[in-house]
Amino acid sequence: MQVLEFIITGAIGSAPYMLLAYGFVLTNEASGVFNLALGAAFISAAFAAYELAGKHHLSFGLAVIAAVVVGAVINAAIYELLIRPVIVRARSLVGMLVIAVGTVTAISYALSYASHYSALILSPTILSGDIHLGAITIPELQLAFFLLACVILAAAELGIRRTSYGLALTALSDNDELARIVGVRTRPVILIAYLFAGAAAGLAAIFLESVASITTFDGLNAIVIASIAALIGGIKNRRYALIGALFLGVVQGVSLEWVAGKWQDAVTYAVLILVIIVLPRGLAGVVMGAERR
């Protein structure tokens, strides 16, 4: 029964990685960029929320709005100022990786100085109880975060599938040159994807700092974990990326049962890497292969 509890709480705790992985795949679809710089938006949003609600004790709702806005603006700014000028001249996987790490490093250290090297923790007073399902105990706040993430991602998916934006995004993802030729205005499509991914990263940040302690140096770690979840699903498939994130949460939850907390990250990474190696095209590749057969 305890394992079941770890599985359920792990799945519920995957909400931040669902948001990050979804945003990561969305920006990859729109711009073709392996955007690990999303970690910079994540940590900037976490810092903004901490400054308002953690340090200056303003309302939690205000902190949520600030995190979403800061995440969206920073991510869009990174695309416009750093990524777009480079991909216009020479698209390079390594170049994007160096930009991402440089940006995350610079922002992490600048924010660590601004926050006096303290941990970013929020202690919201809302939903502080637990829900008991038989022998399983689920913290109310985590369940609320999980449900909110599901609603937001379902709404986003519906919006993408039912609107002209979704059509433009699909065209851009399939063939960006052709999309331009047939008249798709690619720049706003990409910018909207980056704004949404940044906002989702902001929400993920506030989720994580409300249920655990994070530091300004966790940006790269969080986005690498989310990118692994996205790759487990399949890099160009938003829905399977969510399954990848859920799987990640379950692995993290179950690993708590068997290994000490300090080894949790190592075990999680090791399991996820093994899954990527076993399924080199992700879950989407497996399902598509089965459908073809």
Binding site: F34, L82, P85, V86, R89, A90, S92, L93, V94, G95, L97, V98, I99, V101, G102, T103, V104, T105, A106, I107, Y109, A110, S112, Y113, Y117, L220, N221, V224, S227, I228, L231, I235, K262, W263, D265, A266, Y269, A270, L272, I273, L274, I276, I277, P280
Partner: protein, 305 residues
């Protein structure tokens, strides 16, 4: 540390960094595989060499050799499954392996945890900084010799063929998997040997010296210098290590260290924005541009070009 002169220390560090950067170029540049865990492989070699020197009285040469073998073995084992994936997937697998290794370095009690290992004997028990520099140069000579063997002659042609089209190489009877895994293992071994020498020179082994930032610094050096361009990589090493050491020398205290890292992050971003193809690609672009202008002005004909 026994370095009285900061320039000699920086030079020695630069020589070792160039060695590891060349070892990374063997897989990223020559094979086109972005398995980014060179910092972790340095760490494996470094920690094993440190334990052998501290607990078993090994000399630096033997300890580095065993460290190199251990790193090569880990690379070999990691490469076999990792080479099933490509591009972004391989990058993430490499970064994941790097983070797992960093967690192990930081948490395993026998490796000293976050504090690392201290009191490691100096290379050759020497107190001369020039001897340490000579030792580092000796290692670099070995790395360059291996680099030449893998990139030139029949082996070099096979490696280039695999990089350009591994299916075609396999159809011509080349054992693609064996060559890929072999080059990755050799590259890991070289990184491990340098890691062993590095911890001996520093007299301590710390997890922070072998984390993901170290791997990204090495990748940046290879990217800026230009893949498969050892001279460009040497130039990029001189620039980046020089800037890093200058910042470290001219600043002190936690605030200064923070701003040093901020400056370094900004520098990485600026390098990619200003020269998105690196020094090597930038020089090739300049040459092509100059040729175009000469052709347009009629000073050169297409036949001359």
């Amino acid at each position: 540390m026994i370095f009285a002169s900061y320039p000699v220390y920086s030079l020695t560090l630069g020589v070792l960094t160039l060695g590891v950067a060349l070892s990374l170029d063997l897989i990223a540049g020559c094979l086109g595989l972005f398995l980014l865990a060179q910092g972790a492989l340095m760490g494996i070699g470094g920690y094993i060499a440190a334990l052998l020197m501290l607990d078993h009285g090994f000399g630096v040469v033997e300890a580095c050799a065993v460290g190199a073998l251990a790193s090569a073995a880990v690379s070999f084992v990691a490469a076999l499954p990792a080479l099933r994936v490509r591009d972004e997937y391989l990058i993430v697998v490499g970064l994941g392996l790097q983070i797992v290794a960093s967690e192990i370095f930081s948490n395993l009690p026998v490796l000293g945890g976050q504090d690392g290992l201290t009191g490691i004997p100096m290379p050759f028990n020497s107190t001369s900084e020039w001897v340490l520099l000579a030792g580092a140069l000796g290692l670099l000579v070995i790395v360059v010799a291996v680099y030449c063997v893998i990139t030139m002659g029949p082996v070099g042609r096979t490696v280039a063929m695999i990089r350009e089209d591994d299916i075609a190489a396999a159809s011509l009877g080349r054992n693609v998997v064996a060559i890929k895994v072999g080059v990755v293992a050799v590259s890991g071994g070289l990184a491990g040997a340098i890691g062993g020498y590095f911890v001996s020179m520093q007299q301590y082994a710390s997890p922070a010296d072998f984390d993901v930032t170290e791997t990204i610094l090495l990748l940046t050096i290879v990217f800026v210098g230009g893949m498969r361009r050892p001279v460009g990589i040497a130039l990029a090493t001189a620039c980046l290590v020089g800037v890093q050491q200058y910042l470290a020398e001219t600043t002190s205290g936690p605030t200064a260290a923070t701003f040093e890292q901020v400056g370094f992050g900004v520098l990485l971003v600026l390098i990619v924005i200003v020269i998105p193809r690196g020094f090597g690609g930038g020089l090739a672009w300049l040459r092509a541009h100059a040729l175009e202008r000469r052709l347009a002005s009629g000073r050169t004909t297409k036949e001359d070009a």
